[in-house]
Symmetry: C2
Subunit: 417 residues, 2 copies
Amino acid sequence: MEIEDPLEKLSLTPYMTDLCQSSSAIRKMDAIAKKMAEKYGKDKIHNFSIGNPRVEPPETYNKIMMEVLQDKSFYLPHGYAPNTGDDEGRKAIAELFSKIQEVEISYKNVILAAGCAGVINIFLRTVLIVGDEVIIPSPYFLEFPYYVSNFYGKSVFCETFFEEKWQINKERLEKCFTAKTRVIIINSPQNPTGIIYSEDTIKMISELCQKYSNKYGRPIWILSDDVYCRVLRPNKKHHQIFKFYKFSVICYSLSKDLSLPGERIGALIMNPKIKLCERNIHAISMSNEFLAIYPPNRLHMRALPKLLKFTSNIELYNKSQEIVENTLKKLNIEFIPPEGAIYIFPKIPDEIDEMEFCELMVENFIVVVPGSAFGKTGFYRLSFCNKPEDIQKGMEQFEISYPKVIEELRKRKKNNI
Amino acid sequence: MEIEDPLEKLSLTPYMTDLCQSSSAIRKMDAIAKKMAEKYGKDKIHNFSIGNPRVEPPETYNKIMMEVLQDKSFYLPHGYAPNTGDDEGRKAIAELFSKIQEVEISYKNVILAAGCAGVINIFLRTVLIVGDEVIIPSPYFLEFPYYVSNFYGKSVFCETFFEEKWQINKERLEKCFTAKTRVIIINSPQNPTGIIYSEDTIKMISELCQKYSNKYGRPIWILSDDVYCRVLRPNKKHHQIFKFYKFSVICYSLSKDLSLPGERIGALIMNPKIKLCERNIHAISMSNEFLAIYPPNRLHMRALPKLLKFTSNIELYNKSQEIVENTLKKLNIEFIPPEGAIYIFPKIPDEIDEMEFCELMVENFIVVVPGSAFGKTGFYRLSFCNKPEDIQKGMEQFEISYPKVIEELRKRKKNNI
């Protein structure tokens, strides 16, 4: 295409222009997957790349929404909401997290916003100044660094290791702190590894944050992305942050445990130990307004107290994980067993190139995401958010494709291709 | 309240801390109104301060939503949507604006996002670098400058005048352009004045933007906030931007013409004259994802093609405006008759202080917003988004309160109180 107008090429920021041109690993896989689907039919491709839960929302969802639609008692049922969200929804969230965190949380410490990602953005907008640093344990949820960039913050990655079961190492974390450190974002159960931070890890992070808050005279926030806090394997316990560290906030949404990611219902919960909690929530509510994330859509926000009484059939993920693990074990693939969430992050044999592996897997009908998308090469993320029967079919194909791919790549390597 | 921990006071950015402490004019009025309501009862207070439409959504709204809820044909009906929004909704918006702008618009030039304010934010995120300037005709919708601040842009205000019927003056506008100018935000029908920019005004703005784009070698965008483009008085025509200027985008939502502001359904439409339109839309869709505005909630997005076939009973606003105008005329109050939207922006007599006027009006049961909230002292915004019967009651009180307030303030002035 010929662009006669030279101005056109300069119509975006350099940052966005670069982003448009860069082909992410995920998009590369998607493009191959699309070609494969065209050639062999969509059903042949087993897509383990997506975190879009395919276990249905609670059965009562439709009934609840119908009731809300017909409820005549609400004044201006589709009108603008307060920037903190409706009090009824805040109360429901406060009640849930009072139980989870085992501490009394007032609804005044809660703000509702459109999704967990929205909550992270309004929080960062409220605490970051240009150049502030945000520590992110790596591998990480791939959007975190973009959120930090929105407000011209700097992401500082703290590497974690397979050999250490993806727990955070104290020495390595301590090296990340500087006078500019403002936030550390933790996510547990974690995307992409599925691990839960142990109580020791949480204590250690808390102590370091306190130490460097005192040293540099400005509080360092722990932002705990707890979107998977109710998506746990049997007998696994989610960490509690509020009792260990004062300057902590939790973000949460109904995207995973109720399978409603498209409906954009999220919340931020602030540690009630903070005396200026109401002032802080008021500030974040202004970011909610001015950044135009806003409270969740009114219809779902009105339904929130009722919706929160249910979850999807989360036990299906236990079954799905079991199927995946059995196949991986059979093929001698190394992995740390996930304790929650809907992902597993297996190791690629050392001599095999990650991108070549993932590309060849797609060409053999299996779509996974290269670890580099999450800041960690040599691994891949396999999402098991599908129903067990579909996971079963996919893993049968995996069992055929994986040895073929590994053999082919070893052959290529040997022949120096 | 005693705060023992000195870190607490430093837990937000200085910008947000200041915002929390500053008491906006609107909040001041709200506080007085609340006290009055406690003392005299809520029904006694006539609140003309809010832009939350109180004319109901289209009658078919509930029926449409029920249908969408029960539609089993949609794959993952509550799952994540593409970052551009669903194609069906994009097509419906493209069709509507092809008619409004009288030019063929492809759905590929449309992106759906959560509300008009969300659309403005993702657009600014995609085109502004730190320090870039955004021209905003003043008086303005009060949130525009905050959106610009989110990305460390600078708002440059171009004053408009009652005596010039709030149209933009060429000489004054031309003085606003610099090498850093990146965007001009226009809003028509306008909040708070209700005027529509004439075709001459639109042509003039377009020519200046072209001139300075060429001069400084970077395109200057016109962002046209057309949220009220279907909320017009009889025989009034909304301006068309696409035919006059290439680097233009329109933002729109269902908040006003369908009375669904709480449901967060918005769209950005890019001028099809731009050859790199798809690249640009792709970039904005990445901002939609990374800023976490996201497409509208899936339930309403799926309903969008059906919803767009209807509007609220917008004619009620004609009646409401008539009632307001009749009262203002009777009281010899000066105003420019609104041509659209749901606001009127009358003049306060020169010798009267704006804040004293608005405060005393609230104490006399009438809540309006001081003009300074919109960047223009000496005026106030009166919203007539209520139904005519409520407007009627309110204006009866206005007719009693206004002369009392003016008399009292003139007396105070005379006695130098």
